[in-house]
């Protein structure tokens, strides 16, 4: 019987069926952060429960910490950070806190430490846990009650999802990155188009990506509603498993971690790689994007009154006029960071644009490397010098920072940000803040131009 990669992963982790129709699945590895775990630990305490298998968990501080220094910027964030450390000490769980050389954004830290390998099942109280699909592992985000459930039982209650394959064949044009590929898929499938599906990405444009690019694609798959995203493991994956602190410590053999050739998916989507251009979002949902050479939509582009109303609302919030050219949108801030695009490969791409150039007058430009190890590597390669010479502020500590503005990096009401992050929701980067999503190289181009700009014009 031919099976999809997703079905193989679920089958391999099924513990038992439950009477109500769910199943219990086994969680090989669970990651926690400081803001979605406190109530899970207090739930354990209230029920008098222990952690089932403490060594299978890792806690990382990343969401609320300042990135200007390794000291918490206020008492509220300190409380969350200290609370996580205390919970980990009490339950004997690994904790990578501020000042630890392994600290950083959880989804950057895990691959860097060699903690993901094909065939694993990984859960984390963070929606971008889909990132691990890049390794042929089943990763998905969970809520705090489920964090408690994993801590207490090492399992989750689970319902098998439908499967979707997104096939992206064809060579992408120069200047088109993994970020543009996934933004294109979000645009085509829609923000909720993959609700209830596990999505497998396939095709030559995906095969041609390095691991950082594959992680960007799987990371943002949640923006089309996919609870899980997968890319079959291959020789690129194998090569990426070597050289980390946990390398060689575990392996999940026994299955081939790819879909069988005759496996049938519930839904198939095809995107032409050659037709993808560098994209920017103009609205307040990640599927509201246009090529950088194009214009913000006009009401007459839409038929349904609902779509017209949605356009109007987005434009009002974003402070844009319909039909405005993408490159006429002037920015206040440029932000490079987040679990989507803060890896060393992302910083290199942005630095290529910035070398020998200056950030436009009046633009505040910030780069937050995804982890302490990424920062040190980037500094050794001379990237910090390039960013700083161009006028970027190079942050000494790692974290989510302005992606969701839970620390002190909060965009002001009306402030317009070119951002290498994953969500352009209303209020995401600060109340009234206006976010335009794009690749890190496009953020660098916008920082130099002072407005959204085409990376292909920066030779």
């Amino acid at each position: 019987m031919s099976r999809t990669l997703y079905d193989k992963l679920v089958d391999a982790h099924k513990v038992c069926d439950l009477p109500d129709g769910d199943m219990l699945i086994y969680v090989d590895f669970h990651i926690m952060n400081e803001y979605t775990s406190p109530q899970a630990f207090s739930g354990l305490d209230a029920k008098g429960l222990d952690v089932w298998r403490p060594e299978a968990h890792l806690a990382v501080v990343d969401h609320v910490n300042a990135t200007r220094s390794n000291e918490p910027h206020d008492t509220a964030s300190k409380l969350l950070i200290d609370n996580l450390e205390a919970n980990c000490t009490k339950h004997d769980i690994a904790f990578y806190g501020l000042g630890d050389p392994r600290q950083g954004i959880e989804h950057v830290v895990v691959p860097e430490q060699g903690l993901v390998t094909p065939g694993m099942l990984i859960a984390c109280g963070d929606s971008h846990t889909t990132t691990y699909g890049a390794y042929g592992a089943l990763g998905f985000g969970i809520g705090t009650s489920e964090v408690e459930h994993v801590l207490a039982t090492q399992t989750l209650r689970y319902k098998r999802m439908k499967t979707m394959r997104v096939m992206i064949d064809g060579e992408t044009a120069p200047g088109v990155t993994a970020k543009d590929i996934i933004m294109k898929v979000v645009q085509v499938v829609g923000a909720g188009g993959a609700n209830g599906f596990a999505v497998e990405f396939a095709g030559s444009a995906i095969r041609g990506l390095d691991m950082a690019g594959r992680m960007t694609v799987c990371n943002m798959a949640v923006e089309l509603g996919a609870r899980a995203a997968l890319i079959a493991a291959d020789e690129v994956t194998e090569a990426a498993l070597q050289g980390h602190s946990h390398s060689g410590q575990f392996a999940f053999n026994g299955e081939s971690w790819h879909s069988d050739p005759k496996a049938v998916f519930d839904k198939e989507v095809t995107v032409s790689g050659a037709d993808i251009e560098p994209l920017i979002t103009w609205g307040t949902s990640p599927d509201q994007s246009v090529p950088i050479t194009a214009h913000v939509p006009v009401a007459s582009d839409y038929v349904s009154p609902k779509a017209k109303a949605a356009l109007e609302r987005s434009l009002l919030y974003m402070g844009l006029t319909e039909g405005q050219s993408a490159q006429s949108i002037a920015i206040d801030t440029a932000f490079i960071g987040s679990c989507t695009n803060s890896r060393i490969e992302d910083l290199r791409e942005a630095a290529k644009i910035l070398e020998g150039r200056k950030v436009a007058v009046g633009v505040e430009a910030i780069v937050v490397p995804g982890s302490a190890m990424t920062r040190i590597k980037a500094e050794a390669e001379g990237l910090r010098a390039i960013f700083e010479a161009a006028g970027f502020e190079w942050r000494p500590e790692a974290g989510c920072s302005m992606c969701l503005a839970m620390n002190d990096d909060i965009a002001m009401d009306g402030e317009r940000v070119a951002s290498s992050t994953n969500r352009n929701f209303e209020g995401r980067q600060g109340r009234g803040a206006r976010t335009h999503l794009m690749s890190p190289a496009m953020v660098a181009a916008a920082a130099v131009a002072g407005h959204l700009a085409d990376v292909r014009d920066f030779k």
């Binding site: 207090s42 705090t144 207490a152 090492q154 209020g427």
Partner: protein, 204 residues
Amino acid sequence: MKDQRMTKTIKGIAAPLPLANVDTDVIMPKRFLITITREGLADSTFADLRFNNAGGPRPDFILNKAPWARANILVVGDNFGCGSSREHAVWGMRQLGIDACIGTSFAGIFYDNARKNGLALPIVSPETRDLLLQVAGDGAKITIDVNGRTITAGDIRAPFEMDGATQTALIRGRDDTLDSLEHAGAVRGYEAGLKSEMRVSVIK
């Protein structure tokens, strides 16, 4: 069996919230997430829609208007609850007195979080949702029969989708963690079958 005699009906005024893609950043803005408890989130829920920058109520927002200020049901747009996994969004909605959201589709993590907290999410067809938006706009009451998977409002009587496990959880109001620990033997059995290289151990 006792469980089969339990019933669950949700009845009340419904507020129309027709916007598509309402995300959990909008439901629960991040400035209210710096907390280690589940409590005290009612006023934070939909805060940027309900309150202006000075903290006063925005009179044009539906939940600030009579009779919808008393609504315990929302009729919502497509893909409600997308984005961040923050369960705080569901805790806040429950503390605000919301018992159910009727929509056409919900983001996966939000759906699971809702089930853990007794927030019912009946899934209906787009046509039914549009009819119910009108009912809600008129301030009329809606009744959700969770056992029968049926919604009634005036002349409207429509089925809704809800998977069996979620339906059972809502009716019984069970604790999933304690419930699952009854299967601890099966978990140990699974673990006994794992090769040593399949047991992750994180370096401290």
